[in-house]
Structures are given as C-alpha cells and as structure tokens.
Symmetry: C2
Subunit: 365 residues, 2 copies
C-alpha cells in the first residue's frame, strides 16, 4: 500500500524520524545519567511505547485512565498517571493495581491525600510540585508540602513536577534556565521531605523542551517527556528539535482550487484548532503544507483557515504549484498531541511512500 492509495484525511507516522527522535532524547539524557519514563499522552500507541522504552527501565507516563488500561493490557505495569487523582479515579487505579498493575498517582490536595491514605490498598503516590508553571502542585518551600507528606504517610513515594512553562521559553538558553528551575524545585522538595524523615524514591521531572536542553539533572531520578517523539512546528520553533524532526503529518487531498490557494480535506477536525505557533517567530496558521514525500516542496504554503472538514492552504507565490483535485499532500501540525488525537490510527512509513504498518491509538478517556 502506498500513501497515494489511502483515504484522506489520515495520519502518517514516519518511523525513521520517530526512531531518530527517540535516539536523540535517549542520548541527551544518557549523558546526564537519568533514565526516561516516556509520556505516552502524545503517541497513545503500544508500538510507539515499545520503541520509546527501549533501553530504558520500562516505565511509562500516561495522561488518562484509558491509556493506563490500554498499556497495562499490553503488559506495561509501571505506569505514572500524571494528572491529579480524584476519589473516583483512585478507585479505578486501585482496581487495576489489584490485578497486577503498579500505577502511581499524584496529588497536591490535603483532603485527597487523606482519601488515598485511607484506602485499604493505596497506590504509591507522588506529591505534585509547582516549579513555576502555576498550573498544579505545591511550592517546594511550602508548609503544605510537609502536610501532604504527613497525610500520605507510607503511600508517599516521591515528588514530581512538570515545567510546562518551558513552552513559553524562546531560545535554548532560556529553556536551560527553566530546566534548572524545574530541577531545583523538585530536588528541593525531595530534600525537605528526606530531612523530615520520609523515603523519597522517585524524583520525577520533565517536559520535552527541558528534557532536551537540561544541563544538569543531579538529584532527578527520572525524566518524563512525550511530544519529542513526534515533534511539531511549535517544538521546532522553540528549538526542542530541528525542522527535519517532525515524524507525524496529516495526509490530505486537494478538494478545491482557486488562484493563490487550494482547499484540502484536512480542516479543524483533522488538524485541530491549535494555534500555538501564533506565539512563535513563524506563525504557521493551522499547519505547513508539505508534498506527499514529506518535503517542503511548496515553500511557505500554510493552512490559513480551518473549517470543520476544509482547510484553506495559502500557496507560496515563489513556489508555483498546479495540483489537480484529488492530488495528495501532507500537513505538518502545529501541535502533534492535539492533531493526532483526532485520528484512531497511524499509517506508518519508513522515509518513503510505502505504508509498512498500521498502528492503533487509544483515544478518549
């Protein structure tokens, strides 16, 4: 099967680029002697998880219980569910753990800590630390950190943080500084807890930009990152990776032709309405049009408007193209996590147009 034979829109995953991205991150972290607990929220695929955990301890991170169930069903037991736990979800986690999973949960809430500790078979729990993102987590120097530890008691296994504000960083130097702040916050929390007598086995940190550019990870026991596997225009713009590292694209067909632009059958659903490159040096609209081989054959042709099933590609006047109705091209996404979520499978290629595998995704909740 060739890309040209596929119904559109659909998701294409270039395994050659994927493997290179995975090797690159593994090498970067290996130099700092920290293992990777890959975040599967972007890929949501056991096939990708097998590649991403290769040579690593084997644990993964997930963002939904649906992912936890799916990966546990495929034999992965060491799973960190990295979204604040609720009483209802705690019950689901404990049921999976009763059948052999070893799901770790996170919290930053005192009442929830009591609920976890009161469970007859509580899961291992990490305290979420805020390293500057101001989304979830407690400050590493706060009284609340020690209060949470006291309430969790023997459930307490460690601390975790996510420097999501690294996405607002511009330039490698700034991201290095955020990485150091991330490390500083989570290791300080760990030290305070150890000083208070708690055993802290896991000191978990990470985001793709900070994981890629950290200069020092002393005291961190594991790194979590996910989007680095696939890459996207946004991560390229903030220098997490190069422009040739985008492994996932949306295959689409021309459905209309007008002077200076084409209509394609990848719209807001197939691409997502994510506009994250709006805040970067180069705004790619809803994505960058590539030729069917995945090359930049159309210059700066970007998806300027996105309706539900229609994308309007504004052509680059310096790259004249004349594509008939039904011609296929590929769109590099702004934000792979959002784009991939609209699709239930990957059509896998190895650097050319031959589809060598179909890999499924676990979407939803």
């Amino acid at each position: 099967m060739k890309l040209a034979d596929l119904p559109t829109p659909c998701l294409v995953l270039d395994r050659t680029i994927l493997a290179r991205n995975i090797r690159g991150m593994a090498a970067a972290l290996s130099r700092l002697h920290v293992p990777l607990r890959p975040h599967m929220k972007t890929a949501k695929s056991i096939d990708v998880a097998r590649l991403a955990t290769h040579g690593q301890p084997g644990g993964i991170t997930v963002s939904t219980l649906a992912e936890a169930e799916y990966f546990f069903g495929h034999g992965i037991t060491d799973i960190l569910y990295a979204v604040g736990i609720t009483p209802q979800k705690l019950q689901s986690v404990c049921e999976m753990n009763a059948t052999g999973a070893q799901i770790i949960v996170i919290t930053d809430d005192p009442t929830m800590a009591d609920t976890i500790a009161a469970h007859p078979s509580p899961p291992r729990t990490l305290i979420e630390v805020d390293s500057g993102e101001e989304r979830g987590g407690v400050l590493p120097g706060s009284d609340l950190l020690l209060e949470l530890a006291a309430r969790l008691g023997t459930c307490l296994t460690g601390v975790m943080t996510h420097a999501g504000h690294s996405y607002a960083g511009r330039g490698v130097r700034e991201i290095e500084r955020i990485a150091e702040a991330e490390r500083g916050a989570v290791t300080r929390a760990a030290e305070r807890l150890r000083d208070a007598g708690y055993a802290i086995d896991i000191v978990s940190a990470g985001s793709s930009p900070t994981a890629r550019h950290a200069g020092n990870l002393a005291g961190v026991t594991e790194i979590r990152a996910g989007v680095y596997m696939f890459g996207d225009l946004f991560q390229s713009e903030i220098e997490t990776h190069g422009a040739d590292a985008i492994a996932v694209t949306v295959l689409t067909s021309v459905i209309g032709r007008r002077p200076g632009r084409i209509l394609v059958d990848a719209g807001g659903l197939a691409l997502s309405k994510d506009r994250s490159t709006e805040a970067t040096p180069h705004d790619y609209g809803y994505g960058l049009a590539l030729d069917i081989e995945g090359n930049r054959g159309f210059g700066n042709a970007i998806v300027r408007r996105a309706y539900q099933e229609h994308g309007v590609v504004e052509l680059d006047p310096t790259y004249p193209v004349d594509l008939p109705i039904g011609a296929k091209l590929r769109i590099a996404p702004n934000h792979t996590c959002m784009t991939a979520a609209a699709h239930d499978r990957y059509f896998v290629v190895d650097g050319d147009q031959d589809v060598v595998a179909i890999w499924h995704r676990v979407n939803g909740w």
Copy 2:
C-alpha cells in the same frame, strides 16, 4: 445512572433542549415553506438524525464518507455529501450507491465534472456556488457555472451553497442580509441553468445562522443546517439561539484547587482548542463553567487555559464556590462541532441528572 457516577471528562446531551432546538428550527423553516435536510456533521448520531428528520422529507447532509456509510447502514439513503468530491471518494460513493444508497455529490471543478460524467454509474451532482464565503464554489454569474453544467450533462441535479460567512455576522439584521445574499446567489445560479435548458431539481442552501434568520427563501428547495441542534456559546453570541439553548456540555471533575481558580479534567482534548468566542462580544476562553445541573451557578467562570488534559477555570469573584477534588461540573463549549468530535458517545439526560440513554457518534473519516 446519574451524571455524578460518570467517568470524566465525557459528553452530556440534554435531550429536552435538543428537542426544543429542533422544533424551533422546523417551525422557522415551516413558516417559509422550505424543508430541512439536517446536516449531521455536528451530531454524527443516528439517534439525533431520527429526531432532526422527524416531519421532514428524511434526507440528510454529511461531511465525511464515514458519516455517509454509518447513516446509510442505519437506513438513511438520501444523503448529500457536502464537501467537494475527489476521484477516490467518487469511487466510494458509487460503491455505496450500487448497494442502494442515493448519495449526492458536489463539485466546482471542470476536470472533476468530467470524471463524474465519465463514470459508468455517476451519482447525482450539485454545482457548488459561492454566495460570499469565498471558500469553495463558483460565482452564480460566472461562465464557469455553465461550463460545469455542460460537462456534468445528465448528472447535474441542482445547485448548493453555504453562507459560512454568516458566522462573521453580528446581529439578526446582518444575518438576515447574509441569508438573502445566500438565497440570491443560489437561486440566480439555478435560474441561469434553467434558462440554459438544464433541469434543476435541488436548490440547496443553509448555515444555522442564516437558516434561523432568513426572511425569504423563495426558490430554495431545501435548507441544510447542523449546529442549531446542539447550540454553543458562539452561536448564542451571534444570536442564532438564546443562552438557554446549549444542549451539549462536557462533564468534568475538579482535580486541583487554587485561590480564585480550579483545575478540571477537561482540557484541550475534551473541549477542543477552538477559540471562536474570541471574536464575539463576550470571550468565554475555552468554555463556560456550569454547575452539574447545567445552570449558570458559577457566574462568569470560564476556562481560561486549556492544556491537553487540564483546564484552568478562572472563578467569578462574585460567585464564591468551594468545590472539593472530584466534584463535578459542566462546561458549555465555544463550538460544539469541535468539542463533540473528541468524544465517542453522548450521555443523554432529560433536563436533570439522570442518564436515560447512551448514544454513539461516528467520528473520523
């Protein structure tokens, strides 16, 4: 089963509001003596299609071949596939039509018109007319209109247009004017084709705003509209419906608490990254927080930030709330079509918290 028992995030559909919205649109069009060919791109559900076609001729509109296959599999044969056809998709349509479907396609491209006409069993075809949106379609006064008709020959069944630029309209008067321009364009195209000797059976127009506010539909044989069934914050802002007409919400749980805001488990995937109310009088961020009963119990509490699985709800200082971890609330969406697409089913209620049915959706392509 109660809403409080459901895993979150998930999609809630209030059938009472849905039925009222469907009755309202049917009544508005009945006054103008035009039947409805409801667009199922928003609901993507046979259960909703049955309600939306009640008292109408029974045909529907779809936006994907997956919808066409699904609805045909559920017994609906008269289907307008309202996205420009390609050679590959034409083949799929003809295969379905060979087994009893009566799928109508659209085109605005001369080469594609030849491909349709050359097929041994071509589908009925409408010429897409541009009534001002400047997305797809030919101008009603253009030579291309007559050229397309000549190329299509006996496949030609009618004309269609979509005044999608009505979404940029503000106020009922402006939308009435756009509705009249939509009618004028598509009926002018029909008249020119009839004058040239073609039989034009279908003169199809519509968008939810213009369908709701058209003052005159003389010459139009059917109206297509979809989002009116569910409503959303954007359609409310542009006065397609009232603020009490939003039938679809996302049920979510509190997963974090900070002064002045809460974290919920509905993020960019469960809500979509659509920001359409950014352009309306009231910007609702990524959605408006409602209490579990669907009422505006939290004032102007909006989802200010949306990460993949985290939403940050900025609380309204005039509505103090103290929700514990795990408490459930509902988020009214900016743009229902985008939000619903992340979910594979509806949990149906009838104006209260009892789940009375689960209806499935046909996502993807």
